[in-house]
Amino acid sequence: MQTHKTSGNEVYGAFPRKEDARFVRGQGTYVDDIALPGMLHGAILRSPLAHARIVSVDASAARAHPRVEAVLTGADLAERGLAWMPTMSGDVQAVLATDKVRFQGQEIAFVIARDRYAARDALELIAVEYEPLPPLIDARTALDAGAPLIRDDLTGRTDNRIFDWSAGDRAATDAAFAAADVAVSCDMIYPRSHPAPLETCGIVADYSTVDGRLTVWSTSQAPHAHRTLYAIVTRLPEHKIRIVSPDIGGGFGNKAPVYPGYLCAIAASMLTGHAVKWVEDRSENLMSTTFARDYHMHGEIAATADGRILALRARVLADHGAFNATAQPSKYPAGFFHIFTGSYDLRAAFCEVTGVYTSKAPGGVAYSCSFRITEAVFLVERLVDLLARELGADPAELRMRNLLRPEQFPYTCPTGWQYDSGDYPRALRLALEIAGYDELRREQAERRARGEYMGIGISFFTEGVGAGPRSQMDIFGLGMADGADLRVHPTGTAVLAISAQTQGQGHETTFAQLVAQELGLSPDDVEVVHGDTDRTPFGLGTYGSRSTPVSGAAAVVAARKVRERARLVAAAMLELSADDLEWAEGKWRVRGDPEKAVGIAEIAMAAHSALELPDGVEGHLDASAVYNPPNLTFPFGAYLCVTDVDPATGEVKVRRFVAVDDCGVRINPMIVEGQVHRGLADGIGMALMQAITFDEAGNCLGGSFMDYLLPTSMECPSPELGATVTPSPHHPVGAKGIGESATVGSPAAVVNSVIDALSPFGVRHADMPLTPASVWRAIQGRPLRPDITG
């Protein structure tokens, strides 16, 4: 395993964030803060119905509104070849509906007016005649004979099936189950959820009729990929398109896709010659932009009588909504769900996933899910708890007994993925130690004797993050590699341009630390440029916890190129051979003469000076890199959640949350811990509160923050964090991704805890969200179904 220490100048650590100077002053620049001269405002007319044929759209009264400049309908876009756009998953999605609407909230017309309010007013003036069609809300009926056909626009399509997909060895898994002493199964729903970043999605599109340049400010987690898609869809030359992602008010996957509103604003700017701003409101965000999860899962686990886990089997029905618009590596229609063997030493595993269309908003892969590993971890960790109960075993002991051992790494799991590194028992032991597990179990027994219902829930997760390699992973045909350009100025300060895009993760700080560490600089001397396609190299952007694993690696590789170049210049400066120099304490130093050394600042000045350089050595120190990761990185962790449940009201209080994360080398531990804090809140929200539900008519019941409940400071306890460090053997500094670990790992810990609390009532499983009503119903033996309103 390679060492991660690259120089004596240790600048990794809790370095304060550079970003904060502007944010604490209210001086961030978000998309809605941008105002251009003559800018117009767009608003979208959306369908009130979940499924209906459009008979007619009459926008004449809206066009006559004194403050309206133009109205675009599906027919108008069809004339320009823009009524449909490709999705990131090989499907097409309506920009503005021409034939029918397929979910409540679907885009029908786009009004362009001189102010935000007038644009909204004019929406009321558009008359749409609908012929209602039966909605398809329950994914489990999507493949029934006679189910309404959602995608009759697709030639030859006769049912709502998107894909059938499987991974693993079916025969070996069946054999393992047949030979097992014990098998446990469970049906569970991972309900539809929404990332709900506090800033909604929006765009300012500014097309210049003079030079044909399109400048777009948008809430994009992947500005370069969006530029390519816009070039293909609008047929504008790509070099004439500039995408700027300024400060982004949270993304979590919600801002990875291209949405119809973006293309409407671009089309409107091209039509009017004015800049056009469109910023959705909260209801539009929740009802129409990419949802997450919505997996109906049947899981089975097989084991020996003495608690040795043998095999896993899963059958999944995936509700993708009206368009298959998930943003994930295209070879994997169920994302990375098939890294579903979790953290255990299994003989065999097999999963099959069927994706279906329904008359609900499109999406599926979003919300810090590491391309569906969230659903997989939940499935496995619930099954392990159920197995523990079946065997009468302690869930911590059962896990410890079956976890992969350190000497098994690199480990190839039964579905073919190679986990890079890990010491799982160490992480679980640390979590149990922080929690005081044995004492907690004693307390639980005492409380139970008093009629109090306390739960202890454990989850252990393994993630795979940092997509590609590019030969295996692409989105929209674009291989998942990322670039970095590093310029070192004559006075020894540096500018790093990256393709990743921060939405709050602190790239401006972490990436400066990465470069500073390699070059013997202070992070203050490194400025990080991101989120502007004219100023940064190509790359796939920030989602799936891929910034540090991929873009961070590119930054380090570029910095090491600079360092090697600096070595040749240093040799010229010192009139020595490059072989006589060693990199130590942030400088090139003469071997055997530590007093004689030159740092990057001196070398940079020399590299830009008239100094005679050896043949073949170019001047300057700038370098660039494209990083094509050899594999994913595999962060892991052990979580433990303590809950108290009031059986009279069904109310759950999360009392404690212990989280031990191993994301390899931590560049900025303060930022890493902040990421974990966020994900634990996600886990509490997901497990207890958040769900996007629909009524029988297809009305979205989670269309505002009055209905879609997010955790507040009152639901989230102070987390107790622990860390172990197992470096990634293939990442240049041994780092792994951390952005989604806690979102992936924590929901199962909360649910396991609540079910543990309810075990005296004989409750074996209840689906998320475990609201008071849901918990109460589970105690009564009448569990709620979370996908349809009760």
């Binding site: 604490v24 809605d32 970043p197 987390p719």
Partner: protein, 160 residues
């Protein structure tokens, strides 16, 4: 309708539509974009500003309702170039990530500390419970406010 307000000590007079929301007035009319628009339903608190001395959610207040009143926004928190201890605390304790909820959180925090200079953790949690943060899980926001309570004004922490 005519509306005259004093924002961060400066008087502004405008002729606005009666229906104009205060958050849009601040952002679009006065160019004070530090306050944000997050939910429309008074749930998220990204739009919190002070009306006179009380935090309010400016997405559900009309601009004309603020006529003749004093408003304080995030742009008015610092004293000149010296950051308010609350601002310093948020930077010192990693109390923000994307920064979108931060202005509203800081205004509520300053209001709390003015009334209760030495709050408990529970009091801080309750004070910010009407506001949503999607990035921090609230833990570091709470720490930031408690930090500010312990660093009462003398600039003993370098401005970030």
């Amino acid at each position: 309708m005519k509306v005259t307000v004093t924002v961060n000590g400066t008087e502004h007079a405008r002729d606005v539509e009666p229906r104009l929301l205060l958050i849009h007035f601040l952002r679009d009319e006065l160019g004070l974009t530090g306050s944000h628009w997050g939910c429309d339903t008074s749930n998220c608190g990204a739009c919190v500003v002070w009306l006179d001395d009380t935090p309010i959610k400016s997405c559900t207040v009309l601009a004309v309702m603020a006529d003749g009143r004093r408003l304080t926004t995030v742009e008015g928190l610092a004293r000149g170039t010296e950051l308010d201890p609350v601002q310093q605390g948020f930077a010192a304790c990693h109390g923000l990530q994307c920064g979108f909820c931060t202005p509203g959180m800081m205004l509520t925090a300053r209001w709390l500390l003015n009334r209760n200079p030495d709050p408990s953790e529970a009091e801080v949690r309750e004070a910010i419970s009407g506001q949503i943060c999607r990035c921090t899980g609230y833990e570091n926001i709470v720490r930031s406010v408690l930090w500010a309570a312990k660093h009462t004004g003398e600039a003993d922490h370098a401005n970030p």
